[in-house]
């Protein structure tokens, strides 16, 4: 291994192609105001079958309590984050509350089979591509947004940025990356059979964004 | 650039032997605009067949011979996108490091594909004298992508008010000629030209017009083999025939 490393690097160092100027930083601003960003985000998310609702900051628990049972979905999964605690405190009695509070190995089968929807927050949204940005952590683990068939994401309206380049820049991501950072732009999909779009192949079959204002 | 008094004309090897009337029509169109068209006697080929087959020494030998035909600092007009593209884009590469390199670069800078010259330099204006007709345009890949002049043939034909242009499906797709490709990959080339002629037939056009005789030889040859009534014609002949 060591030898391979050295010989690869030696070959690469032996030849230095003619230097070119470093590329300019990619930055393009749309200048969209908040309302426009919400509109663009919503339009793009809906175009890939993502559901978007605008709610008052204090309404989301009730919304989920009301909406999920009407869709036949009862088994909720939350993390130990503030969002998870808040939902746990306010969950209706029709909702079966599950907490993601132990390592995955101890309850993998249950996670894969016995959960209807997971609820997470988000670090940001991107208007130009219709994306949610998540930095999963101990309080909202990675599989919480991936394994349940429905993923509900809360997005603070003021955290809606223009695009990825702007986000990286403004939030200074280079100062330290998390274990896992994600851009999620719709429910899971595939076009591997006859280039025909089909939703819900491996990840969530549905994605609901609740924009909180 | 302003209209020059004289131009060189490189007829190309294919036109010289197989489509001389197309070549002559191009010369007549330019002369009609009051410009002297010089057809240097020693011209043969730009070297493209060998260049594209990988035989660069042979291509260079032939290109070098052709280069001597164009000593004066006047534009060079070529009634073919691929031969024009060869001189403009590939000669500088082929002659890199050779004593003629700077001359070649200068020549490349004043080389024009015919329709490009008619539109950009002569700003030719055409008066349609022909009967109403439906045509399809097949722009060669080299005119489109190597020389970037696909819209010139379209704008020339658009001046002919009795000509209706119909667009083939997948109009940017290669007809499958590709020089030695048509020989080395004959079946593949045959399948490609079949798709192209099918698309052209579907337009209902009476004639296919192109700025490249390579494509015309391929498409026209296939149509003839299929006993189709769809005709093919080089843009220069078409313009000369219909306009004054």
């Amino acid at each position: 291994m060591r030898e391979s490393r050295e010989s690869i690097l030696r070959r690469l160092r032996a030849n230095r192609p003619q230097a070119a100027a470093a590329p300019p930083v990619y930055r393009h601003s749309t200048g969209w105001n908040r309302e426009r960003r919400i509109g663009e985000f919503t339009e793009r998310m809906q175009a890939v079958r993502g559901e978007v609702h605008r709610l008052g900051r204090g309404q989301w628990v009730d919304w989920i309590n009301r909406e999920m049972p009407t869709r036949g979905l009862h088994r909720a999964l939350v993390g130990s984050s503030a969002i998870g605690r808040r939902f746990a405190a306010g969950a209706a009695k029709e909702i079966e509350l599950n907490r993601y509070d132990r390592t995955i190995e101890s309850w993998k089968a249950q996670l894969f089979h016995d959960i209807d929807f997971g609820i997470t927050g988000s670090l940001a949204g991107l208007a130009e591509s219709g994306s949610l940005v998540l930095w999963p952590d101990a309080e909202e683990p990675r599989l919480l947004s991936l394994v349940p068939p429905l993923h509900i994401v809360l997005l603070e309206a003021e955290r809606l940025f223009e695009n990825f380049a702007q986000l990286i820049d403004v939030q200074r991501w280079t100062d330290g990356m998390p274990t896992n950072a994600l851009l999620i732009s719709g429910p899971s999909k595939t076009a591997d059979i006859e280039q025909t779009l089909a939703y819900g192949i491996h990840g969530p079959k549905a994605l609901i964004t609740l924009i909180l204002e | 650039m302003p209209k020059p008094a004289s131009v060189y004309y490189f007829g190309t090897c294919l036109v010289d032997l197989l489509y001389p009337k197309a070549g002559l029509a191009g010369m007549q169109l330019i002369r009609r605009e009051g410009i002297e068209v010089i057809y240097p006697d020693g011209q043969t080929c730009c070297g493209q067949p060998a260049f594209n087959a990988g035989y660069r020494d042979e291509a260079l030998g032939v290109a070098r011979s052709l280069l001597t035909c164009f000593p004066r600092d006047i534009p060079l007009v070529v009634p073919s996108g691929s031969c024009g593209g060869m001189i403009r884009q590939h000669w500088p590469e082929l002659f890199a490091g050779q004593p003629e390199e700077s001359r070649v670069r200068a020549l490349a800078g004043r080389t024009y594909e015919l329709t490009e010259f008619l539109v950009d330099v002569l700003r030719i204006s055409l008066n349609d004298l022909g009967e109403p007709m439906k045509v399809a345009i097949h722009t060669s890949c080299s005119a489109r992508r190597e020389m970037g002049v696909a819209d010139r043939i379209e704008s020339l034909i658009a001046q002919l008010d009795k000509v209706e242009v119909v667009t083939q499906e997948r109009r940017e797709e290669c007809c499958g000629f590709g020089g030695s490709f048509a020989v080395k990959q004959a079946d593949l080339s045959g399948a490609m030209v079949r798709d192209k002629t099918d698309a052209l037939h579907a337009t209902g056009a009476a004639r296919v017009i192109s700025q490249d005789c390579g494509c015309l030889m391929n498409i026209g040859g296939a149509l003839e083999k299929q006993e189709s009534s769809l005709e093919t014609q080089h843009i220069a002949e078409f313009l000369l025939e219909r306009s004054s």
């Binding site: 994306s131 | 260049f51 070098r64």
Partner: protein
């Protein structure tokens, strides 16, 4: 030299398979129009291409330093890095890691580099079950085939073929040709595998040296599942995938998804910088990166051929290739098909290993025009043709230079040069050809299988020009 003969045999087969050609024609037309819808403004597209080209070119220039920086950052983040010069080394490394972890079942995300190394076969021979989890890869794994396209591996199959395949392997699932139902069946089958897998193997789209981050682009979520659910994650990729900065990623991501599938962005963009941390509840406890050279450092030696390494594997060149649409990917007989395959494979494995692969191109330029990082593919293919027939040409590090040179063909070109570089000789020839035009052969090899034979005119243009009074000097 039976690579050339074998290549022609595969071409024949492909051309005779009308169903296959129809599948490709309809799939590619769809991808083309979706891509074009993503780039309504040509000026913006060209600016993004130029930016992307510069990002990739810059990364290749600084490649050794960036790889060291990447390694250092990854190690600091807790990701182990393994270097492999050859496919065999990469496979052995991965097998070693799996064996040490007692892994019996591996779920895999899409990776063309693992196709280069033949990883699945290698692991299966050693008793490890490997399950491809990308739907397209899963389909062709069931069929026992290789990918026919680098982005859409099962593009050559229609729904009926997929339905039959699934039914054959999973007879308990009711037969259906409904794409949504087929997709749901695959979901059920593969979910069990994800839940049970001991390890996940994935490819990588970009590696960021500045932060030590592995980026994966996907729609299905199988990439995320493969890299999150099992205890062990092994990523494999080529050394050229490194970029310098995190700010290099947004333009590449944008142009990659728009070019590859005509999407503004894919469903998931997954950035991995660490294994599971002590307080975290999921994610792999160990993450390894296998960096494969396999000819890449050799390609980089040549200032012109180096451009090949800018490729971000979007498959656009393939989607627009008028030859690929006739043949599909398998006919090429290489890991990477289409224009990028014609340019890359002879460099990667040797001009003498690919038969007449470079001849399967009309140099129409469609590939170069759509390439998101402006790789001059036709120019590279032309260069490789030259290298294949002339070993003296350059001092490049290509393997198998001159291997396609045939004395009779070379002799013909010499004759051609003699004729066309001596105007008087040429005039004699053209006089004879026009005057004896009726003697032109009616059959000219394969040309006349599909077309009539061209016939010289009565007089050459040179003669007509003189008659019409055009000056000749």
């Amino acid at each position: 030299m039976n690579q050339t003969a074998a290549f022609h045999r595969r071409i024949d087969e492909a051309l005779r398979n009308d169903q296959l050609r129809q599948n490709f024609r309809s799939a590619l037309s769809g991808i083309q129009s979706r891509r074009e819808a993503q780039f309504p403004d040509d000026a913006q597209l060209q600016a993004l291409r130029e930016q992307s080209r510069q990002v990739r070119a810059n990364a290749l220039i600084k490649q050794p330093e960036l790889l060291e920086q990447l390694e250092e950052k990854l190690l600091a983040n807790g990701i182990r890095v393994h270097w492999a010069e050859t496919p065999e080394q990469a496979n052995a490394t991965i097998h070693g890691l799996l064996k040490a972890a007692h892994a019996r079942l591996v779920v895999k995300g899409k990776s063309m580099v693992s196709e280069e190394t033949g990883l699945n076969h290698y692991l299966e021979q050693r008793g490890i079950e490997v399950v491809e989890s990308d739907l397209g890869e899963f389909i062709i794994q069931l069929a026992g085939e290789a990918p026919s396209h680098i982005v859409a591996p099962a593009i050559h199959k229609n729904r009926r073929e997929v339905a039959e395949l699934l039914h054959k392997h999973y007879p308990e699932i009711p037969y259906t040709e409904d794409i949504d139902q087929l997709t749901q069946s695959a979901r059920q089958i593969l979910r069990e595998k994800f839940a049970q897998a001991d390890a996940g193997i994935s490819g990588v789209n970009f590696m960021v040296a500045e932060t030590g981050t592995l980026c994966l682009v996907e729609n299905e979520g199988n990439g995320r599942l493969s890299t999150t659910t099992p205890r062990l994650h092994i990523a494999i990729t080529g050394i050229e995938k490194v970029v310098e900065k995190l700010s290099d990623v947004p333009p590449l991501l944008e142009i990659l998804t728009k070019s590859a599938t005509g999407q503004a962005i894919t469903t998931y963009f997954n950035m991995i910088s660490r294994p599971r941390q002590p307080d975290e509840l999921d994610g792999p406890e160990a993450v390894h990166l296998v960096l494969l050279d396999n000819g890449r450092s050799r390609i980089r030696v040549d200032e012109e051929l180096l451009d090949t390494l800018r490729c971000i594997r979007c498959g656009s060149c393939i989607n627009y290739c008028p030859v690929y649409v006739q043949l599909g990917g398998h006919a090429y007989g290489t890991v990477y098909p289409g224009p990028i395959g014609i340019a890359l494979e002879p460099q990667r494995i040797g001009l003498d290993q690919v038969g007449s692969l470079t001849s399967a191109c009309t140099l129409c330029g469609a590939c170069g025009q759509v390439c998101p990082v402006e790789i001059p593919l036709p120019r590279l293919i032309n260069r490789l043709r030259a290298e294949a027939v002339d070993a003296r040409r350059t001092t490049s590090s290509l393997i198998g230079r001159g291997s396609l040179r045939k004395p009779n063909e070379a002799g013909l070109w010499k004759l051609w040069r003699l004729l066309y570089s001596h105007p008087r000789l040429y005039r004699l020839f053209s006089f004879a050809a026009t005057r004896l035009r009726r003697l032109t052969p009616r059959r000219l090899g394969g040309w006349t299988d599909y077309r009539s034979a061209p016939m010289p005119a009565r007089q050459s243009l040179r003669e007509l020009a003189r008659e019409e009074g055009f000056p000749h000097a």
